[in-house]
Amino acid sequence: MSSARDDILARVRAANATQRAEPGAVPRTYLRHAPGIDPADRAAVLALFAERLVEYGATVHRVRSADVAAVLAAALPEGSAVVPGGFPAPWLAEWTGAVIADTPPLPAGRLDTVDAVVTTCAAAIADSGTLVLDGGPGQGRRAATLLPDLHLCVVQADQVVSSIPEAIGALNPRRPLTWISGPSATADIEMIRVQGVHGPRRLTVVLVEG
Amino acid sequence: MRTALFVTCLNDGLFPRSGQATVKLLRRLGVEVEFPPAQSCCGQMHWNTGYRAETARLAAHFVKVFGEYDAVVVPSASCGGMPGEAYERAAETVGDAGLARAVRELAPRVHELTGFLTDVLDVEDVGAYFPHRVTYHPTCHSLRAAPVGARPYRLLRAVAGIEFIELPAQEECCGFGGTFSVKNPAVSGAMNADKARHVLETGASVLAAVDNSCLMNIGGRLAKDGHTVRTMHLAEILARTRADGPVLDLPHSTRELTR
């Protein structure tokens, strides 16, 4: 008896053997950068990124690096926050809440009781208002950025690219990636957008410029 | 330029006035059309229902009747589109390479009426006079399959005395779809009801289009509900001149009255 694998591959080959037309080359004439702005104009890229995030309902703080600690202290809740390994400690110097380390990995039930999570990111995309996390230093494993109700992400200005095509080449698909474009949301009821379902209901982005 | 009129079977039997208007209009613009009497049907109903062998036979008939002309004018976007969209594939299905070649050669010479006016004759103001409130439904075929674009609107807006009103949700299908209206009468009727409602919303006394099939559908609904909105092929509007005066039993456009 032949295996399902062999059968399916044989069916695929049989189906394709009867086709007359060989498809042509794949055209790639779409834009490589965000439309409407000059990708070399960093101020425009950062402004677009912030604008998109705000449209999604995220809170955005644009700060100088000297002010990150103060801004985080104000933006984080009183209670507790998961802080992944590799997140720069000085940024939390002024916050008085409880730092929760995820080592050894916390059970999901425990993560669910933490008020916030603070992370860095691997890349950010202006055109779509997207943060990409790849589990690298300061980003933690995926469960840790999912269960707390507030996700605060610190983005360095030089991490922000204008478009998805610019970002994708720099990302490593072997790592588990989470692309976040605004807080969790649904439009499943009468196509009306409701913000905040299962993922973090609030998203705060601290954009560090200079 | 030897020009033939392909009046279409529907217009021949049910809407001869549209064919007469086309002849009158073209004559006014200096084009004497011939009417080859052997013509019948483009085969659209067969094609759309899947009968390709039959379509190929009617395509061959079409080539026989019209093959010698320099231009064929058709007062219908959907019938006028058949030679370009369907005949070659129908010929291939029955394995008739000669027919496929013949229709490929003939198709570019087949023109839907508004395209013939604006692109071949290069006119927009055809000297028409029609002092009534008119709305226009862009039929699916004229909108998407063989797009005539803004041509009908340009022609209509150039008509003297006309009061033109945009039809709400105009891009939506009226629900005719040929055999669709018979195979799926409930959905077709529901689509048509919405189209008729939009027509009434405009307050127009005339609904125009470039396909009498769709007008027959919408008009059938309007009449069934007792409304007096009249459906007219665009050619019938463009054919009228000041010498004809207003259409007697239609209300005047308000614009004309305030002039």
Binding site: Q19, G199 | K183, P185
Partner: protein, 478 residues
């Protein structure tokens, strides 16, 4: 056992019932109207929209042409990354594979991310038969599951329900499957979403096994991609110990970079967003992060049948954005269930016959569930030419090897055609029609044309045809 589409009536009958349901019509029209407006605005934002569509269509055609190579590449990469790849010829085999995998874990309740493929193969019922309760976690999918309803849309399966109906389902059913709906729940959408959050959360936290579909599967890297909004996808893909992902063969894209095309098209066209809130991509397993056991099930279930159809195979480009149903005037009036399949609307009208064949009356009625208006052609991100495929499928019924046949129609159209080809006969017929005009009942045509006069009258046949006028007046010159 929950409800299925088995034994569903043919489209005209189902649609006739649906079009009389004023509530359904209002719900569907409101939802599709909203989404159409959102989409139009976001699409207008992209000056390169048509170029993106060109690339997407060409990429998918490349996938289909080299599908065997890409599938083997997927298998190799996923296996190398710690996953296990399974192949399923049909629904029964896919269900058996998943059931065995879940059984081996000993779990009785598992969580699911919305997946049209698992709906297509009836996985929930198959698992239920094995004593395994698979809970849907996407809000709309959960509304359908809790209400023992059937899906009506590929993106929003509960699109046919309004807020009041959803509230009633939550109040009635949530308690029977876990945490009940909060006291005094209103039909305010944020409150309903909150009720779903609370109900699901306890399930996410204790689930050991999750089942998902995938929007894309990258051949080059073996990476699976899930695009979602609520975070239920992330919960399932991240918190479970074992993840079972079912993917139709056609979901492959060649390279990682190709995602830049599809990710820019999908959300914009589906929900009118630049990106959906969450996109998760993963390759096999990652130590210390997410499920440590990963199974990928590659499912045929008719896809190779569709692939063999020269015209129809383009339906396999579909990325399930739902835009074709949102724009469809037929869908707007019938809702999705009339199509008798988890794939409704224009894509359903072509995909179901291609997957299953035109051998039963329900499936064979679908290619006729269209007025051929072509609105779907214009919105499809992968440029599926629905009208071409619909005509091809009708041809297969009319003159091809479909088992369903319409002999009466064929005879009638053949007879009409024969008259049309013969000038003398046609000339006589047109003249006879003018004479018969007064005899034709304008308000009630006989079968099979009676549907026409249900909502319209028949135009009067003029006494003088165009050809008679031409002859009498010498082309209007006399």
């Amino acid at each position: 056992m929950s409800r299925t589409f088995v034994g569903w009536p043919a489209f005209p009958q189902a649609a006739a019932v649906a079009t009389r349901d004023a509530q359904l019509r209002a719900n569907v029209a409101r939802a599709t109207g909203t989404i159409r407006a959102k989409r139009a605005k976001l699409v207008a934002e992209r000056p390169d929209w048509e170029e993106l569509r060109d690339s997407a269509a060409a990429l998918k055609d490349d996938v289909l042409t080299h599908l065997d190579t890409y599938l083997l590449q997927v298998e190799e990469k996923v296996t190398a990354a710690g996953g296990t790849v399974h192949w399923a010829r049909d629904a029964a085999e896919a269900n058996r594979i998943v059931t065995d995998l879940v059984r081996a874990t000993g779990e009785r309740e598992i969580v699911k991310v919305k997946s049209m493929l698992t709906e297509e193969i009836g996985l929930d019922n198959a698992l239920a038969a094995a004593g395994i309760d698979a809970r849907e976690t996407d809000l709309a999918a959960a509304i359908v599951q809790l209400g023992d309803d059937l899906p009506s849309h590929v993106v929003v399966p509960a699109l046919h329900r309004n807020r009041a109906e959803i509230r009633d389902i939550f109040v009635r059913e949530m308690g029977r499957h876990g945490r009940p709906a909060p006291e005094g729940l209103s039909d305010d959408p944020p409150q309903l979403a909150e009720a779903a959050r609370l109900h699901m959360r306890e399930k996410f936290l204790k689930a050991k096994v999750a089942v998902s579909g995938a929007n894309f599967l990258v051949a080059e890297t073996g990476t699976a991609v899930v695009v979602e909004s609520e975070g239920n996808g992330r919960m399932c893909l991240t918190l479970a110990d074992t993840l079972i992902t079912l993917v139709g063969l056609e979901k492959v894209v060649p390279t990682w970079r190709d995602l830049e095309v599809f990710l820019q098209l999908l959300a914009r066209n589906a929900t009118g967003e630049r990106m959906a809130p969450y996109t998760t991509t993963w390759t096999g397993t990652t130590p210390g992060d997410g499920p440590q056991t990963f199974h990928l099930v590659l499912v045929d279930n008719g896809r190779t049948r569709a692939l063999a159809d020269e015209v129809g195979r383009q339906a396999l480009r579909c990325i399930r954005c739902g835009a074709c149903m949102n724009i469809c005037p037929v869908y707007e009036r019938t809702g999705g269930q009339s199509y008798g399949s988890v794939y409704p609307g224009p894509i359903g009208a072509i995909l179901n016959p291609l997957l299953k064949g035109l051998d039963d009356p329900q499936t064979a009625s679908l290619p006729y569930a269209s007025s051929l208006c072509g609105a779907c052609n214009d919105v499809c991100p992968v440029r599926i030419r629905f009208t071409d495929v619909l005509l091809e499928l009708r041809h297969q019924v009319a003159e091809g090897d479909a088992k369903v046949k319409h002999p009466g129609e064929k005879a009638a159209l053949r007879a009409v055609g024969a008259v049309m080809e013969h000038p003398a006969a046609w000339n006589a017929a047109i003249r006879a029609a003018g004479k018969a005009g007064p005899l034709i009942p304008k308000k009630k045509l006989p079968k099979p044309l009676s549907g026409w006069t249900d909502s319209r009258i028949v135009p009067g046949i003029p006494k003088e045809s165009f050809r008679a006028w031409w002859e009498r007046t010498d082309g209007g010159t006399e």
